[in-house]
Symmetry: C2
Amino acid sequence: MKISVVGMGPGSEKKMTLEAMDALEECDAIAGYSVYVNLIKDRFPGKEIITTPMRREEERCRLAVEAALSGKHVVMVSSGDAGVYGMAALIYEVAQDYDPIEIQVVPGVTAACSGAALLGAPLTQDFAVISLSDLLTPWEKIEKRLSFAAQADFVLCLYNPASHLRPDYLQRACDILLRYQKPETVCGLVQNIGRPGERAQILTLEQLRNAEADMFTTVFVGSSTTRVVEGRMVTPRGYLQREGKEG
Amino acid sequence: MKISVVGMGPGSEKKMTLEAMDALEECDAIAGYSVYVNLIKDRFPGKEIITTPMRREEERCRLAVEAALSGKHVVMVSSGDAGVYGMAALIYEVAQDYDPIEIQVVPGVTAACSGAALLGAPLTQDFAVISLSDLLTPWEKIEKRLSFAAQADFVLCLYNPASHLRPDYLQRACDILLRYQKPETVCGLVQNIGRPGERAQILTLEQLRNAEADMFTTVFVGSSTTRVVEGRMVTPRGYLQREGKEG
């Protein structure tokens, strides 16, 4: 019948939208990465469950499309927003091989926004979102993006900053940024947003270079105007500065 | 008592998070830009209303902080996410002039995510968010960011692409991007997300240069890998391409 690609937000149910909740309640089947689906399946009993492990994304999307073609309303869940490094694009790509089917993307709160909220207000100016995972993007392209983003003076939000297979990627990224940005640039690191073990830390770019990060970490690197205000990471929008007042 | 800076999402109540809804139901006072507060105040009756018009943002934040210091739970609303060009940073800045107060940011669905969902899946690769408003950022800095972002091959999401005071800013931005990107680059334009008059349109960068945009428009410019899939704007994450299949 149709596929709803649903962003579940950062973890806790309270950060889901009403529309995402409705889709999960109304659907016939819930599809997704097994770890995420297991977190929510008891909350929505009586649904068919379609899961595959990590690295089996194409198969997962094919199973979801085939279930929808058989007449079911399938919700494909992604953590955060379904369109930011989520399954939305792959669902459209895979759907090309089948009869036409209705696809709807239900947006959610991505980690850039939920992480920023924990740190203060780092994204109140122009920003860039970069994944440090080189599973699907060549590392040279990631390096190039880091370098241009630093020169553009964007606030940066880094997804997938490290994993056990690439423990030094955050360090390598910081080394590139340090060519253009001051070592004392205000940075932030959040872990397990909306989940047990939630933690937010403010540190300098130099300290970030040696910080511990994992798959559940999101990293923020300030621009030249980001600073610590009331103990939080804040990039002023410019309202007070416009009036000549010190913000 | 405290201030919750709440992102209301793109317009319709269904795109609000449960946490945002709870904050609006529980609070004593709702503060915000008069146009947005008027849209929701009947839905949450019995609340004190604190509004100021556009360009009176500092005053609005001071009134909210003062109400919170008098013992109230104040919700300061922003459309989209409160941290993305929203009021969160200014609340922290203004709070420095007063006794300590609890500030909480409740994240929401920003227009980059809700607009992307309407267009398809343009943000499944690294992206940058740039506001074309030069009220608070010099135009030269905006131009520089556009130029570096295009060289970085980011997908771009442009907020505030035009207003009646600056009808040609989107055209000027496209002219900068066209130095680095092909005229046939896949672009998208969304208007009135989650509101009456909602509209999504896919067009080329060359067509975007001459498109009509207003304050309620969000613009997306694809990267070198963005294309039209199933009639939607899609930036493949790279799953199918990794396996040597044509996505």
